[in-house]
Subunit: 356 residues, 2 copies
């Protein structure tokens, strides 16, 4: 198959991980007779430096017209003083919106080799951590109106959190569909005792529930969910939630796996063109040192093969290679443990390539 | 001293815990020559049943005209189908707003006797968990406008998240003042890369920072904070944050202590009249069984003595009694552990009274 992949190398230490992911993709392509061509697009800090805009129309167009987008991570201290509209993160928000990517899938799964790295105690980890947060990605308060006005002699800032029925329905459906492919349990997380958006969310979910009688559906308040993720993560199979709650809970969920540097994510909309990216940040403190962990980005590339290109064997092969390298005891600095062998970013890439 | 305390017995299993807290208050009053008189007010489900309103004006008035309010917990399945404005929780939101209680203080502290109950692993717990979440309580999206409209043939719900400078300044000041009384570290938690309210929050905090040069001030995004509370809670001394973020993070913070049934809270405004309540819910599933843990409510009463009545020795005495009972190995069902003696709600009250 021929696939055109847009690469966003990203900021700070991010280009180092994207480079390793591309090496892996190239080897997979060679082995399986695919041709991956790459288009480079600029987004985030790099785009600000180059174009004065975190996502120029030309770059969004490259992403939309490709078969999928692989991103590292963006942002860094260099751009933190900029006004809201010109921040690197705004480029990412606009990219998700511009590509119509409303469904962010964030797996939270323990790698057995790294189970000791979980901050949770063994008795909880041993019950299993294997769930997915399906986060609505282009609605809610992150995409509502933001304004700051003068009122009674002081500034008043107002952010607006809107959700419409169709926005809820399409992500709710992904929640149910994802649950159907897994252990058939779906938890809708909201704050329906206070927010109108949450109550509309529940009303729509109840309609969908009728279409998925096999799914064990439940509802949970967001503050309780933040507790339950620590207390009893084994109870979860699929969590579906709005954008901001999903932002907070999916990061907490990743943290309890103990290996943030291992967590990939996918963002999808109506078609098969998706955005694949690690959930970790751009790690400005270690940029240029070849010590950053490339695995989340490599696993994001595997997710791209699986979910956007339907290349299941190829995705399996990458994931198996990562597993083998962990079995051999190779670790980047962020996940180093006693008895293991510390490797840098490029060397981790080499080790994974050896198993493909 | 004479003090008039308003009691809100609350819903489901809540009256059982308030009853024990009142017994403790009475014994403290007798020993120290104080006179506590009690006024009963109705709020939440009980008020809905009695008045058709979760907080009638008469009940708010009782609370405002007393020296402080002791609350158990409200809500339950009985009232869950009601429209947003008539829910029990709405009574609590209106009570906080009506009393002008903008500062919610939520301590997250490990009791050494219960350290094993933490979901976090020992190596993290051993670094110490002792921080306070100072949550803004009467602003932000929980108190903004909530509406659901018809637009393009579908429903659209919109919640509004407003913050004005004076609202931020008064809670920010409490954050700095609280830090000054502790380890002098303050973390402002927000989502300033996306929200206007967060950016205004930071601007105000930077002004206050100039007044508190001794405080080590830092800022953290809310999603990262949800991770850090699991990963490295020892880094925190005081967290100051807006209402909804504080709702989520303070519950997560309580959970990592492993003993939700032990966590009290205070809510204060300009004067000394505060609202004191456990952070746990009304535990409908065990209502009427005399098994609910009364300690968080008893510790809330102790906080009331300390922060609203300046009765420091009396508060110390209650806390020491709780500590002694834990040392003796008495536990309610929620915190039962091997080798301990299980007691019910009234009996836990008895045991604590024995040490006063
Ligand atoms: Mg996040
Ligand atoms: Mg809460």
């Amino acid at each position: 198959m021929n696939k055109n992949i847009t690469l966003i190398y990203g900021d700070c230490s991010s280009p180092e991980i994207v480079t390793q992911a591309v090496r892996v993709l190239d080897k997979i392509a060679a082995r399986h007779g695919h041709t991956f061509t790459y288009t480079r697009a600029y987004m985030g800090g790099e785009a600000i430096d180059r174009f004065g805009d975190p996502l120029p129309a030309s770059e969004l167009e490259k992403c939309k017209s490709s078969d999928s987008v692989l991103l590292g991570a963006i942002g860094g201290p260099k751009w933190e003083g900029l006004p809201g509209d010109q921040r690197p993160e705004k480029g990412l928000l606009r990219l998700r919106a511009g590509m119509g990517l409303y469904a962010n899938n964030r797996p939270a799964k323990i790698w057995p080799q790294l189970a000791d790295a979980s901050p949770l105690k063994k008795s909880i980890v041993d019950q299993g951590i294997d769930f997915i947060v399906v986060r609505e990605l282009i609605g809610g308060v992150y995409f509502g109106e933001h304004k700051t006005i003068e009122q009674n002699g002081e500034k008043v800032a107002i952010d607006t959190m809107p959700y419409s029925e169709h926005e809820i329905e399409r992500i709710g459906r992904i929640g149910f569909e994802t649950a159907m492919k897994r252990r058939k349990k779906l938890t809708c997380v909201d704050k329906a005792n206070v927010l109108d958006t949450s109550r509309l969310w529940r009303a729509v979910m109840h309609r969908l529930q009728a279409e998925y009688p096999e799914v064990e559906y439940s509802e949970m308040f967001v503050d309780n969910c933040a507790m339950q993720i620590c207390k009893n993560p084994a109870q979860f199979d699929v969590i579906v939630t709005e954008n901001m709650f999903g932002d907070i809970l999916s990061d907490e969920a990743s943290e309890i796996t103990g290996s943030i540097g291992m967590v990939p994510s996918s963002s999808l909309g109506e078609g098969t063109c998706g955005l694949y990216e690690p959930i970790h940040g751009s790690a400005p403190d270690i940029a240029g040192q070849d010590v950053v962990n490339p695995i989340a980005c490599i696993l994001s590339a595997a997710m791209m093969l699986r979910y956007s290109f339907d290349m299941l064997a190829e995705a399996d092969e990458i994931e198996a290679a990562v597993n083998a390298v962990l079995d051999e005891g190779y670790r980047t600095a962020d996940m180093m443990a006693p008895g293991c062998t510390r490797v840098g970013c490029t060397e981790m890439g080499n080790k994974i390539l050896e198993h493909i």
